[in-house]
Amino acid sequence: MNGRLDGWQIALASACYLGLLFAIAFHADRRAAAGNSLIGHPAVYALSLAVYASSWTFYGSVGRAAADGIGFLPVYLGPTLMAALWWIVLRKMIVVSKANRITSIADFIASRYGKSALLGGLATLVAVVGIVPYIALQLKAVSASLALLQSFPGPLPAAGPVWTDAGLHVALLLAAFTILFGARHLDAAERHEGMVAAVAFESVVKLCAFLAVGLYVSYGMYDGLGALFAQAGELPALQALTLPGAGASQGGWAWLTLLSMLSILLLPRQFQIAVVENVSVRHVRSASVLLPLYLLAINLFVLPIAFAGLMRFPEAHANADLFVLTLPLAENQPALALLVFIGGLSAATGMVIVETTALATMVCNDLVMPLLLRLGFFRLAAHADLSALLLGIRRVAIVVLMALGYAYSRAAGEAYALMAIGLISFAAVAQFAPAVLGGLYWRRGNRNGALLGLAAGFLAWLYTLLLPSFARSGWLPASFLDPGPYGQAWLRPYALFGLEGMDPVSHAMFWSMLVNCLAYVGVSLLTRQDAIGQVQARRFVDPAQGSPSAWHGAAPAEAMLALVGRILGPAAAQNLRRQHPQASPGMLMHEAEMALAGAMGAASARVMARSVLQQESLAADDMLALLDESAQAIAHSRELEQKSVELERASAELRAANQRLTELDRMKDDFLSTVTHELRTPLTSIRAFSEILRDHPDLPAGKRAAYLDIIIRESERLTRLINDVLDLAKLDAGRAEWHAEPLDLAQVVRDALEAGGQLLRDKGIALETDLPPAPPVRADRDRLMQVLLNLLSNAAKFCSPQAGRIAVTLRREGDALRVAVSDNGPGVRPEDREIIFDKFRQGGGDTLTGKPQGTGLGLPISRRIVSHFGGRLWLEDAPGGGAQFVFTLPLDTAPQATPASPMENPP
């Protein structure tokens, strides 16, 4: 190979290299499809992250170093500082993004703030406007290096007509390449393993190329770094470059560090590689070390190359941006120059492919699709193959982006060094920082705040950085910069409101970040966020606890699954169904929405889900559904509470009933034992006397008669007892027969006295009666007779044996008649007065034994009869000592009741 490179050699090397790249990508895709990923190693992840080092790094760093000395370094120190925080910040971003199927940085912002299509669109716009110059820069670097390679040592050719411009060919080639890598097929997770593998390979190539030229310059052209620096130190102009403050001011250094810190996180291509293409969140750990190491290595020789270039080409017009390439050419090292060219090509293609793919995804998912869906140009039903539509949009977006980049690069001409253009893009992307970082850690950050903050920051960036660059390129009058628009000095874009003494980038960063943060925080604090915004905020800030935002109510999950089937293929829909066999329609709907979000962005997926649901005011409906659910929950808990109270009451009742049952059971046992005892007594005597009569047939007739009398009497007593027991049982069971009728109570008493009179006369008992006429009562005559006879026989039994006296009185007491039967016997002790109404109890002793007259059931039966007719029966002291049984019966209130007046008696 001679000193010059022929065009065909360059073309062949480039073609071979690009072919190799494509082969790698193809192979990686094949491996991925086979489930044997090529990019599963953390080193591949770290290398692919080195896409950060674009041709801007490869060529531009030296250019900047030639002008500013070490001023180029903050651009790489910032990422190292951010790498220290990756384990905290990037990890969370990856976790959140995977959970929410985030496909791009715009998607991230839109999804965080309530899946806002407006915010996603704005973020996409900011990214496109900010990044197009950056893409232009890559194209410019490739075409410039190509031109240099072909024309060296002659001057660079002037730009010819568009169709002969190598830059156009490069742009077209890159567009085709990007489509092949980034938009060949639609992936549910928006992952491109082939692209990642190719980018990782390119990172190796560009590092090797740069190190090669660095080593050659340091040790081939000079005797090591020491000699190089020593020689440079003899030139005062160069020595100044090793001193601080040569280029960037102190403030500028810090701003540049901050700017690059944010860029490594927020540049669309970095987000694509670091978050979307991430295979395992654990890879972040080694990447935090490997990427800074990579950046350190690629920067090691920047200053030596710059110094060598400045010493080799002292003439003022030398293009320092291309020193990397010019030096090997000037030293007649065409092979090295070709390697450097390939390295630069690697840096440019890697950046362009990933950046354009990321931007195209954004444009498709967050700009075009939501617009199509929202404006109604697009009927879901009319498009059978949605995936083709999505891919089509992306491919068109890639071509358009590349065309924009080419147009910018051609129009911007030579006005700017590479470094300046790159920083403009960095500053644009930095506008995402408040919304993204705030969104990750501040739950109250809301859609309005993000929208206004991003818009304000973008406008500030536009005015203080982009428009001035237009002015410098000659698209705007130079008076725009100085003395300022309309001659207003305070409007100067590089010294807004008279803020002077800062370099343009620091100045722009200050103003844009100021308004951005102020608007984001201020508006977030002053406005409320809607339901879905709150749900998403929780999912992003607290990914471990955030609940999936299931669709409420009756979600048409089937229709949604059909949509998934049409966009991602029937297998994807089948998969969803299989993975969530137990899911409710709401959950299934959510999963389907997430799957769609992976292919077309959160905002578009939301719009699609909503159109499926035909649910116009989602926020309100969501809120209502939520309210409804909580109201139901509250009602449910109240019901439960009530039930538990009822249960408690029922169990208390049960306990009481159980107690009563036990009591009754005990009483029944008592009753049975007493009754059998009572029955046995007469039976015993009957049996005893019968045996005597049988065993002694020669018994005198008198005795025999007496014994037989006893037997008959005891049998009668037995009969009475059994009758009483049956009677009581009937009363207790409520089966007794009653014949209630109006009765003249005085007459009934007189009848009873007549019936029982013989008994009293036999005993020689004096009887006093006081029975005035009285209104009728309603009762059963025979039963009442039974009560009265019982009371009379009781009185006869217990009254004084010598001068027995019984008094029966009838009185009216209010609405009742009162009958009292008193004797002059010993009376009943107060403590026994209730006991005698128990079964088988008699006054003056324990259970009855040999008393011939009573069964012990008379009084309980009487009390039941009286109470049946609404009256009461009780015992009290008689006026002259002795006992007095009293019962009352209510007057008959039937209509035929006679007037009460004549019966009023004086006491």
Binding site: S37, G40, H41, P42, I70, L73, L77, T80, L81, A83, A84, L85, W87, I88, L225, G226, A227, F229, A230, G233, T242, L243, P244, G245, Q250, W253, A254, T257, V279, S280, R282, H283, R285, S286, S288, V289, P292, L293, L296, L300, L303
Partner: protein, 72 residues
């Protein structure tokens, strides 16, 4: 690495230290020194501090100990 909270705090401290070390006014201090072994002091310092910062990250994240389980 045991306690994630501790790791996060160590990383934050490392970040703060890195920010201070790789920024003014410390850089101005090194800018005043003469060349060390023929290499400008500021240039040398920046790369050494940078390398130390990377080593610090590696140490805190425990890369030496269990780098093997990184593989997915």
């Amino acid at each position: 690495m045991g306690r994630p909270g501790l790791t996060a705090e160590r990383l934050l401290a490392l970040f703060a230290a890195g920010w201070l070390l790789l920024n003014y006014p410390l850089l101005a201090l090194f800018g005043r020194l003469g060349p060390v072994a023929g290499i400008p002091a500021l240039y040398l310092y920046l790369f050494v501090a940078w390398a130390l910062l990377i080593a610090g990250i590696a140490l805190v994240l425990g890369l030496g100990r269990d780098a093997y389980d990184e593989q997915a």
